[in-house]
Symmetry: C2
Subunit: 633 residues, 2 copies
Amino acid sequence: MQIVDILFGRPLASDEERAERIGPAKGISIFGLDALSSAAYGPEAALTLLIPLGMAGVHYVMPITAAILALLAILYFSYRQTIAAYPNGGGSYTVASENLGAVPGLLAGAALMVDYILEVAVGISAGVGALVSALPKLQPHTLSLCLAILAILTLMNLRGARAAGAAFMAPTYLFIVCMVGVIGWGVVKVILSGGHPHAVIAPPQLGHATEVLSLWLLLKAFSSGCTAMTGVEAVSNGVGAFKEPHQKSAQLTLTVIIILLAIMLLGIAFLAPIYHIAATDPSGPGYQSVLSQLLAAVSGRGVFYYVSIASILLVLALSANTGFADFPRLCHNIARDRYLPFAFTLRGRRLVYSGGVYALTFFAALLLIVFQGITDRLIPLFAIGAFLAFTLSQAGMVQHWRRTRGKGWQFSLALNGVGAVATGITVCVVLVTKFTSGAWITAILIPSIILMMLAIQHHYRWVSRQVAATDTLDTSKLIPPIVVLPIPEWNRVTAKALRFALSLSTEVYCIHVKNEEDDESLEAQWKSSVGDPLQKAGLPEPKFIQIESPTRRVIGPILDQIEQLERDHPERQLMVLLPELVESRWYYYLLHNQRGAALKTLLYLRGTPHIMVASMPWYLEPHPNNPNSSQNN
Amino acid sequence: MQIVDILFGRPLASDEERAERIGPAKGISIFGLDALSSAAYGPEAALTLLIPLGMAGVHYVMPITAAILALLAILYFSYRQTIAAYPNGGGSYTVASENLGAVPGLLAGAALMVDYILEVAVGISAGVGALVSALPKLQPHTLSLCLAILAILTLMNLRGARAAGAAFMAPTYLFIVCMVGVIGWGVVKVILSGGHPHAVIAPPQLGHATEVLSLWLLLKAFSSGCTAMTGVEAVSNGVGAFKEPHQKSAQLTLTVIIILLAIMLLGIAFLAPIYHIAATDPSGPGYQSVLSQLLAAVSGRGVFYYVSIASILLVLALSANTGFADFPRLCHNIARDRYLPFAFTLRGRRLVYSGGVYALTFFAALLLIVFQGITDRLIPLFAIGAFLAFTLSQAGMVQHWRRTRGKGWQFSLALNGVGAVATGITVCVVLVTKFTSGAWITAILIPSIILMMLAIQHHYRWVSRQVAATDTLDTSKLIPPIVVLPIPEWNRVTAKALRFALSLSTEVYCIHVKNEEDDESLEAQWKSSVGDPLQKAGLPEPKFIQIESPTRRVIGPILDQIEQLERDHPERQLMVLLPELVESRWYYYLLHNQRGAALKTLLYLRGTPHIMVASMPWYLEPHPNNPNSSQNN
């Protein structure tokens, strides 16, 4: 098991959980990576939609950013409240289902699940996309690179929260330093130059305006810019992963993340018009990202530029990790309410909900393969889920304050109410503006997931109703079963199985299907080898049933015989004993027929509850040089 | 099961075999298709190698054909003798292993196996190749077409020998009529015109000679032409499939096949120089096959031409069927001697050795996929296997006559001796002339197969030595086993399993692994629900073992506990009873853990022969509307 230990780390005991908990420093890199990295694509997404307005469009980036920041502020204060109210982790699923009911909860849960999966796929494909534009000869390997990064992320996350946080701290903080650095540097230059700084490397000139300003255009730009907010939910969902006191650590983490994100968004929006930076057509030649232009304009193309670009690439790729941190917790919460398979509630050797990690990896890989690892095709599916979850969470909190009516509840209620309305409007805007370009997929997916989850709970309830605890054990009629033993020939395996059968019950039926080649001899041998010694010992003889099989079928006649026995003894339990050759190498199994497994499957398919199937192993020796050391007794 | 009946036909009883046997009319199409269709590529293959000699080369086709016909005559007379001597099917494998020993037999067997697989792949790819040159837009689908034909052939052959023969009769006889017809018509024209007939459509002019005549060139042409003989073995291998009297039917079939093949080869060799027909470069533009040129020269491009071409295409594709007729029989013979897995000896519902059919399909598909369905790449691997088998078969017959010394044995011995020498020389010629262009693959493959077959027999012998029949049953110490029952919680499934365990033995150990959530309650419930009622009934109580699992592992601690029990009771059998939820739909199994299966696998991997595993089914009701009708009792 050493290789497993190297890959995944040693198994952790449940009481080691406290040590696995994280502080704000790691919390920022685990839960904040997605929110922070979205500064690298949010403003760009908004500016791209303003391209048709020409250079004049760049001036609208500030009002749009202001609207986004206002929404972000509302979200910040409402989520602070949520964290305080739900110290064990108050994701939208928990808040919505506790306060609004099961179906709104599932709606929030499904929306978040879809969003986390998309987050992983988009993060990885954006990172690989950036890498590929830097090194175009990697282009044909886009999908393979995406899947390789996904595999690495999966492995890191299976090692546990603390290990993952440690690995991601360096790139996260490098990114923060670079971004805050370039913005600060840029602002200083603006002040020193009296508002008209000289760009070290001037950004490319933008074409003339091809469209006039419209509200629709601004709404589309706004809803694209909203992708910058998708990671905000993560902290509140993961409160339980923080060091004690959970809430304080989580709130501090959230505060730092939101402030950093706000600084970045505001800084980019402030500097872009001054340095005449606009988005360039991502599908055209000479494409350059907004951040690359900004870095070049402020600092030139020196060491700082390349370190910053590298940190952006890294952080984009690793932002996928936020999905890994939260998706398994979310699935665990939903599975605890039995809306998802039981496996999602189990923690693996490193205290991670491994089932969720595997599921996330599977679905993200599926998305990457279907969309060939291309970010542009994935983006329109994105953000709806997040804002739907925001809305339901806020609405749930409104209900929460109405119920609890703690100190100052009116203010809290008002704050979450504003949040619910604002995010609700955003959902509508995003859904309408992006519907035809891909949001419809999300709109179909989320209800399907809800239906699936309801069906799962229905089934679990049904199963547990059926197996529900009986009061006490029925101690009447504890009679040994009738044992049925199919016999292909008389050999040591048969002898061992027969001994076992006779030790269980006095009623043993041996069934032999005659094969094509003549084997009259078995009946005579049976008498001398089995019947006579048992008679001599005064023990009851097993019944020997021989069946002709004109169509050479073996399993069918045995099945029929077993069912006949069941009909003849409706009150009795039957146990079918199947000897199984256990080989030392898997490929040796190709040399034997699999009739035992087939018989068991068919018996169970026929649904006869009085029939048990027992398997007796016969271990074949691995080394054919030592024929006398058999251990099968 | 109706769909199975439609696809494969109703199951046949073993005693229906006689009715499934075939006469010469069907025998020609089943066992002769390959030999006859090779007239369509054998002469062409020889002529292609003569291209460098220019038009002068065409005159060498007659001496080469004469050599081939001489060899064919030797083969015919020796195989007539083989059929007479081995009325139950005397393939090279049987003859060589009975007379020369196991390893020569396996050499013949392996050679034939490789050749049959190649025959199937080459036949299909040649047919599809011809079709694709007629309809070039099918070109991109070459491989898919090959695999589709393979699937159809597989299905037909699984339906049984008679059904397959019937389906192939029409194209076979159409092909024979067309070929004999065009040759007869051509010969009549030659006679009427006094040796200088006028070609209706003149064949294309051949370029000038680029090489001078050499023995090496003639040898290469001869060894390519020998592909025309690859199907001759088939009849002698399949004697058992013929109507009584086997030998007479089989000999008649062989005679007709050889005569038809000789007529075709001789006719082509005779007419080609007179009509100035030479091979054209198959990879160059304006390629036309030799048969197409001959048909056009004799009859023009009328209905007869197109019907003939269609019959050639069909027969080439269907010639693959000879492999299907013989390969399963060959595998059956080898498997009966335990050199191949037991499964090859079993006959399926239609009395065909289905295992061989599946194996042939698998390997032919593999070859087609690896070589992308292109005939040219497969041809050089071909023919070695067949001639190696011929040689071993003849050599075996020589030994046979020396042993039996029946009437006129000296003559028979001499005949087979000449055959052995002639075919032996041919093997060397083919191997040397084709070695670098692909024959080396066959030269590696055949010894590898022999090694595999020896290993298989070694393993089977080893297994049967281990399980070999004991004299009589040991009737001492028939004590019920200790039953071990893992218990996750107290419910109706547990209750049923416990009742079953108590009915088997008075010593029952119940193992419970405490899970993360607090479940102190089980111990108390156990006492009231199990302990008290058993005490009241005066029955022995099961031992209740509770295990803590700090790392949340469940299977590991149970395994350890079972091994502990085994160590404490080294003389006893243990039976681990695992309740299994049986769901009505397969996908419901995703909702349950598979700990039972994992536990069984791990127990068997540890190799503890005293431990049996029994599974108790608990049938979940399929319709959740009727919760009180459970049948699990």
